[in-house]
């Protein structure tokens, strides 16, 4: 039954009225013709009866000691006045009453329920819990022995009237109608509530007029809670707690970017706690996921310092999860893929940033940038990255192992970095295999590339002869290429990509669509990781090739290009190229969703395509 009650705008609107049009319509629907007069009389009487019944029903509400008038109450009033009751609206919550734009029609939303779906639903709602009584001593000798319940916390009590109101409004907005849940940590596993809380934290952080002072610490702790806590809601796969964690992580990094001065002491502490979570195999995967995204949010250095060393140990666990194809494991496995994707994203950024730091270092060295990088640059320029990898890599060096261009005497550059970039790359590749490659793509060496880059000949591009076994059918590890522009970028070549943030805007539509949605990329990585065992094993006979340009005269500017090709659905290679140019403001880049942090994957420009096509590009059977 759709009740159609219109509200007439009358000169005096003391109460809702049923217009005579509605009455006539109702009558017509049952096949009765009503004259205007009769309809008017009926309408008025109906109004009156409705009001009377409503007034009568309110006493049932009062005696049931409720604040909300329920349909039951109304029906009781009707029943006691010998009127037929309204059936089918026994819900405890109010049904939404909606207007229809066209025409003054109002109706109760009464959605159809698919009974079959309901019957076959897997998440069977539990029966109502048994009514029970619990007792607790609330106040001992008239004083609250516990924390005074419901009263505002002491910190709040000192606030002025206005602020107190503001506080109440906010707590209500976040915590909903229950004003007594003062601490998130105390009770809440409600995703909506947590989400609202995070949004509030965000607006607090972003408010330039607010000096947060020591409160940042508590903010950070609640954000950390959202990131790491294995919420009860996580059990249900329908609850999107991933977004919550992502958002919280984002917020964390935001706090660190904007209020770094206030939380500097916390940084290490947070790293430790994240590390603890990560290294604790008992924790659920969603916590691990939180830890990874948290690390990721804290910057690539955090990833390098914490995630990277733990990866081998952690990998085994994850591998076990992912390799279990049993049905019961399906949910866990899905979670595992989530974690996998998160690690991938983090690691990839690590690589990129590391590479970037190289360029920065190179560029900054001559530009007189301060810091440890200067010395490193000097060193690097002295030994143009031809030293062998300092650490024995796990994979057996085959064939072109010698091509391992050690852009990385890394350990010598920065003391805290245990692994050089290529070594790291290799190791990561051993874990992720081609899925890492997908994200970086390869750079086909040699070929007509230099010529294609009209204005900036990639001088540093040097393909050693031993790199020659470029058999088309051999799967190649994507290659990391560093190119150095001697000339500044003032020439505005179309192929020379601008700074990463603007990259997304310049890539063609296809790649834009793919890169702009993190979910799609994650799912892609997931799909590729569905056979991680194979890809890792395959990766063992492939060697990373990293090429570094020779230093040239003039102020060198490096740009890394990671190019590659990926097999499309129609077996047409899709090319990827990621290029970096040193962007000084990168450090202050505001954290964004993954989509923005993802490398721009796809066709960069025509010349690149030409040289990627020309020689051995990497075909990835996806």
């Amino acid at each position: 039954m759709k009740s159609k009650v219109g509200y007439l705008e009358r000169e005096e609107r003391r109460f809702a009225e049923v217009p005579r049009e509605s009455i006539k319509l109702m009558a017509e629907s049952t096949g009765v013709e009503l004259s205007e007069e009769v309809a008017a009389l009926l309408a008025e009487d109906v109004c009156y009866r409705l009001r009377e019944a409503t007034q009568n029903s309110s006493q049932f509400m009062r005696h049931a000691k409720r604040r909300k008038l329920s349909v039951e109450d109304f029906n009781r009033a009707l029943r006691w006045s010998n009127t037929e009751t309204v059936c089918g609206y026994g819900a405890q919550d109010a049904l939404p009453f909606r207007p229809l734009k066209e025409g003054e029609l109002f109706f109760v939303e009464d959605r159809e329920i698919n009974l079959v779906e309901l019957a076959l639903a897997t998440n069977i709602p539990k029966g109502c819990a048994e009514t029970m009584v619990r007792v607790h001593v609330s106040y001992l000798d008239g004083k609250g022995n516990l924390e005074p319940q419901g009263t505002v916390p002491t910190a709040v009590q000192s606030l002025s009237e206005d602020l107190l109101k503001y506080y109440q409004q906010i707590t209500r907005a976040i915590l909903g109608e229950d004003p007594h849940l003062m601490k998130v940590k105390s009770v809440s596993h409600d995703l909506d509530q947590l989400n609202r809380l995070l949004h509030m934290v965000k607006s607090l952080v972003q408010n330039p007029y607010l000096y947060l002072g020591s409160y940042v610490r508590s903010l950070v702790s609640s954000v950390m809670y959202c990131i790491l806590e294995p919420l009860a809601a996580s059990i249900n796969p329908l609850n999107d707690h991933w977004t919550l964690r992502d958002y919280a992580a984002l917020l964390l990094s935001h706090i660190f970017w904007t209020h770094g001065d206030l939380v500097s002491g916390l940084y290490h502490q947070i790293l430790l706690s994240l590390q603890k979570v990560l290294s604790d195999p008992v924790r659920p995967l969603c916590s691990h996921y939180g830890a990874v995204v948290g690390l990721h949010a804290l910057g690539w250095k955090a990833v390098e310092r914490v995630l990277y060393p733990h990866l081998p140990a952690y990998w085994a666990n994850l591998q076990a999860v992912l390799d279990d194809y049993s049905v019961s494991n399906a949910q866990v496995k899905a979670d595992g893929h989530k974690v996998y994707g998160a690690i991938l994203v983090a690691v990839e950024r690590l690589l990129k940033m590391k590479a970037l730091s190289l360029t920065l270092a190179a560029g900054g060295g001559s530009a007189g940038l301060p810091g440890t990088t200067t010395g490193a640059v000097g060193f690097r320029e002295n030994s143009p990255g031809l030293s062998p990898p300092p650490e024995p890599l796990s994979e057996p060096p085959l064939g072109i192992a010698s091509h391992l261009q050690a852009g990385g005497a890394g350990c010598q550059w920065e003391e805290w970095t245990p692994v050089s970039l290529p070594a790291m790359y290799c190791e990561l590749y051993s874990f992720f295999g081609d899925s890492l490659a997908v994200r970086f793509s390869t750079d086909p060496p040699l070929g007509g590339a230099p010529s294609s880059r009209s204005c900036q000949p990639l001088e540093g591009r040097k393909e050693p002869a031993s790199g020659a076994p470029n058999l088309e059918n051999t799967r190649k590890m994507p290659q990391l290429t560093a190119s150095m522009n001697i000339s500044p970028r003032q020439d505005g070549s179309p192929r020379m990509e601008p700074q990463p943030p603007s990259l997304a805007a310049t890539v063609p539509g296809r790649s834009l669509a793919r890169s702009s949605s993190s979910s799609s990329s994650v799912s892609r990585s997931r799909s590729s990781s569905s056979r991680p065992g194979r890809s890792t094993s395959q990766s063992r006979d492939i060697f990373p090739k990293a090429r570094f340009p020779l230093p040239q005269a003039g102020p060198p500017a490096f740009s890394f290009i990671i190019g590659g090709r990926q097999m499309g659905r129609r077996c047409q290679g899709r090319r990827f190229q990621t290029s970096f140019t040193p962007t000084p403001p990168l450090n202050t880049l505001p954290p964004r969703a993954y989509a923005h942090k993802l490398p721009v994957i796809g066709r960069v420009s025509k010349p690149v395509r030409r040289w990627t096509c020309s020689h051995y590009s990497l075909h990835l059977p996806l």
Binding site: E12, F15, K65, T131, Y139, L140, G142, Q149
Partner: protein, 750 residues
């Protein structure tokens, strides 16, 4: 009056035992209508509680006539015997009556009356309590009002509808221009006049004028009449008038105003000068002006007493003597609890007993001058188990904490979880061992609050097997297999609005929307009796402090007194103009207090069924009542969030406690009466210094005689503490025997 009461009960009994004539509920009216018209002019009618004998007799005779007509000869006999009326007397009166019938009502012609009444009721089929209301009202007899259509027809006089506004504003101008001291008093006239004039317009089909009238003057009314005005503004048609409860309330009772003689003279002179007959007529016919000599009252004095549906109580109503003292405690031998005492010789014991008892309550030793006679109403004899319980009580009370402003009670909160907004009533046993909850899903649940589980008695076959001579026979009859923490009692077919444990913890009462009160055994956990009498939802019920009797009140506007072994009520307390929402026994069991939606509290004498006190002053329906342990005071809480304190002996309001922001559903005095605890919908428990409130009141002779009180606004001083719960409205409060405060309510997650 007592005789009348009995007569009514007979009538009621007829109604229940002979359901086939129940449909004649309306026809009862005819007889009583006759009686109504028989009675003397309404203006000279006596107030409730002190009706002259003549009228009583006429009512009786009318009832007799009705019974005769319906061939209920047995009842006629009984009634006549009870009332001590001679047959000839009746006959002569009857002829007088029919002769004296005037207007459109012919007392003799029952048939025409019947048909008219049935038309009336047929025209208003939606009326929730059409027939029983009329029945009760007419049966009540205390109000000398005839039936509805007669009342309404009083409006039939035609005045120029357009002049109503002029009349009203003329009076308004006059009242605003008089001296300040009179203005407040005369302002009381506004509301009743406004309502009556509006209804008159509506009755005479001047819909537009009525609306205009309402628009213009409704804003002038006191804010506490808003609820009624909202109902009123919905009435715009003559047809609506029939069967509207609120309207009936207003019509069937005369609005009582208390005005000093000076002010009244002023008003009278003004109206006569202006020849403002319209207003004068209304005052004459529908208002009762209680004139007193002396100083006019101030605005605040008036405001504190007004607000009820029918104005203030008349002064005479509260003059009757109320025996509010406590009954003498029965002599019980208190065995000494300590081992060393037991070791003493036999003679030593009685002495010790005496001393102990004296220390406990020297008051109970001497007869309280205000106490009723011990046998004023018959009370059940104490059983051995009751004596044991008394002993327990005394032992406990020696360990009682003396409460005071410096020494507040601890509060234990019993939270009902997963009640889904369904918890409607809660009660604790006096010894705080059991907890009962009434629920909207028609169930009653009983929990054991102590580690002792609830057990049923064994089945009859099993009971035969046990050794009845053994010492632990009471233990042996229990079936261990049924032990559980809680039991659910099924039987009602509507939400349970009231629950009450018997003092001996063997029974539980529950009242429900289905119109019944049920008595449950807590030994077998089954329903023993369903008391049917209220034909409408029963909002509250309570056991007498001595057991056996219980009282119930409901939507049918009456409270009934029952005994557990009678299926019919012993007394019907009729007089409230709207639902009886809560009922409480006086600690001495001789009186019953009822709170109502008509915003008044009435105190009824159990012995004769008379209304002995009417307390007005609440601005909203009353939902909780509590007697102080010494029986002298009464506290009441209402939807307006205020607690009012009343002195029963003097019939005065003695305190107003403001602080709650929502309906007060529970009130309780501490065991010694020092602290009053109030629990409300606003999720708080508040403690008040009742001792101070009672001490500070000045009850000099002048106040006592005039009833004009000056309330100090000292709520904040009296408030000892506010205690919040976590989203849990406080449904019930209870002080344990050691003065620990127990609160109960259902957690409300929304």
């Amino acid at each position: 009056m007592a005789a009348v009461q009995d007569g009514q009960m007979e009538l009621d009994a007829e109604k229940e035992t002979k359901p086939e004539i129940l449909s004649d509920g309306t026809s009862n009216l005819s007889g009583n209508t006759a009686s109504g018209t028989l009675s003397s002019s309404p203006l000279t009618a006596a107030p409730a509680g002190g009706a002259p004998k003549m009228e009583d007799q006429q009512t009786l005779i009318a009832v007799l006539q009705f019974l005769k007509r319906n061939k209920l000869t047995d009842s006629v006999e009984i009634l006549r015997r009870e009332a001590g009326l001679g047959e000839d007397q009746e006959d002569s009166q009857a002829t007088d009556g029919s002769g004296g019938g005037k207007g459109d009502v012919d007392g003799g012609d029952a048939n025409s009356l019947l048909s008219r009444v049935s038309i009336t009721s047929a025209a208003a089929p939606q009326s929730m309590c059409d027939s029983p209301l009329m029945f009760m009202l007419s049966a009540a007899g205390a109000d000398d009002q005839p039936d509805v259509s007669v009342v309404l027809s009083a409006y039939s006089q035609q005045g120029d509808p357009s002049l109503y506004q002029v009349y009203y504003s003329g009076l308004k101008n006059f009242i605003e221009s008089v001296l300040d001291c009179h203005r407040a008093e005369l302002s009381q006239l506004f509301y009743p006049l406004f309502v009556h004039m509006y209804l008159e317009l509506v009755y005479n089909n001047h819909e537009n004028e009525a609306k205009a009238f309402f628009e213009k003057f409704s804003g002038d009314q006191e804010c506490y009449y808003q609820d009624d005005l909202r109902v009123l503004c919905g009435l715009t048609k003559k047809e609506h008038l029939k069967g509207n409860e609120v309207l009936l309330d207003f019509r069937t009772s005369r609005f009582v105003l208390r005005i000093s003689r000076d002010s009244y003279q002023l008003l009278k002179r003004h109206l006569q000068e202006r020849h403002n007959n319209q207003i004068w007529n209304i005052i004459q016919e529908h208002l009762y002006i209680d004139i007193f000599d002396g100083m006019p009252r101030s605005k605040s004095q008036i405001d504190s007493m007004s607000g009820s549906l029918a104005g203030e109580g008349k002064r005479e109503v509260n003059k009757a003597k109320v025996f509010h003292g406590l009954l003498k405690e029965p002599e019980i031998e208190v065995p000494l609890d300590d081992e060393d005492d037991e070791a003493e010789n036999e003679e030593g014991k009685p002495k010790k007993k005496k001393t102990k008892k004296d220390s406990l309550g020297s008051k109970s030793k001497k007869q309280d001058p205000n106490a009723p006679q011990q046998n004023r109403i018959p009370l059940p004899e104490l059983k051995d188990s009751d004596k044991l319980d008394k002993i327990m009580y005394m032992k406990e009370s020696t360990k009682r904490i003396r409460l005071g402003p410096e020494n507040l009670p601890s509060i234990c909160f019993y939270t009902f979880l997963n009640a889904y907004q369904g918890l409607t009533a809660v009660d604790f046993t006096d010894d705080s061992s059991l907890l009962a909850g009434g629920f909207a899903d028609s169930t009653v649940r009983v929990w054991s609050v102590t580690p002792k589980k609830l057990r049923k008695v064994k089945s009859a076959a099993d009971l035969n097997m046990i050794d009845k001579e053994s010492d632990d026979v009471l233990e042996r009859i229990m079936d261990e297999k049924t032990a559980s923490e809680s039991k659910i009692l099924y039987g009602h077919s509507g939400p349970v609005y009231g629950v009450s444990f018997s003092p001996d913890r063997n029974y539980l009462l529950s009242s429900s929307e289905d119109g019944t009160v049920r008595l449950w055994s807590l030994l077998t956990f089954t329903c023993l009796v369903g008391y049917k009498g209220h034909n409408y939802p029963v909002w509250d019920t309570q056991f007498s402090p001595f057991g056996y009797y219980f009282v119930s009140g409901g939507h049918d506007r009456v409270a009934r007194l029952w005994a557990t072994d009678h299926y019919q009520p012993l007394r019907i307390f009729a007089g409230h103009l709207a639902d009886v929402t809560c009922t409480r026994f006086h600690p001495n069991s001789n009186y019953v207090a009822t709170g109502s939606t008509d915003r008044t509290i009435r105190l009824w004498d159990v012995l004769n069924g008379n209304c002995v006190r009417i307390f007005t002053g609440h601005k909203g329906p009353i939902h909780s009542l509590a007697f102080s342990p010494n029986g002298k005071f009464l506290a009441s809480g209402s939807t307006d969030g205020r607690v009012l304190l009343w002195d029963i002996g003097h019939g005065l309001m003695i305190g107003e406690l403001k602080g709650h922001t929502d309906t007060i559903y529970s009130l309780k005095f501490s065991r010694d009466g020092e602290i009053l605890a109030s629990g409300s919908m606003d999720n708080t428990v508040r403690l008040w210094n009742s001792m101070k409130a009672f001490d500070e009141v000045e009850t000099d002779d002048f106040t006592a005689t005039t009833g004009h009180i000056h309330l100090p606004d000292n709520s904040q001083e009296l408030l000892l503490g506010t205690y919040h719960s976590k989203s849990t409205p406080v449904t019930h409060l209870h002080f344990t025997r050691r003065n620990l405060l127990l609160a109960a309510g259902a957690y409300n997650s929304q």
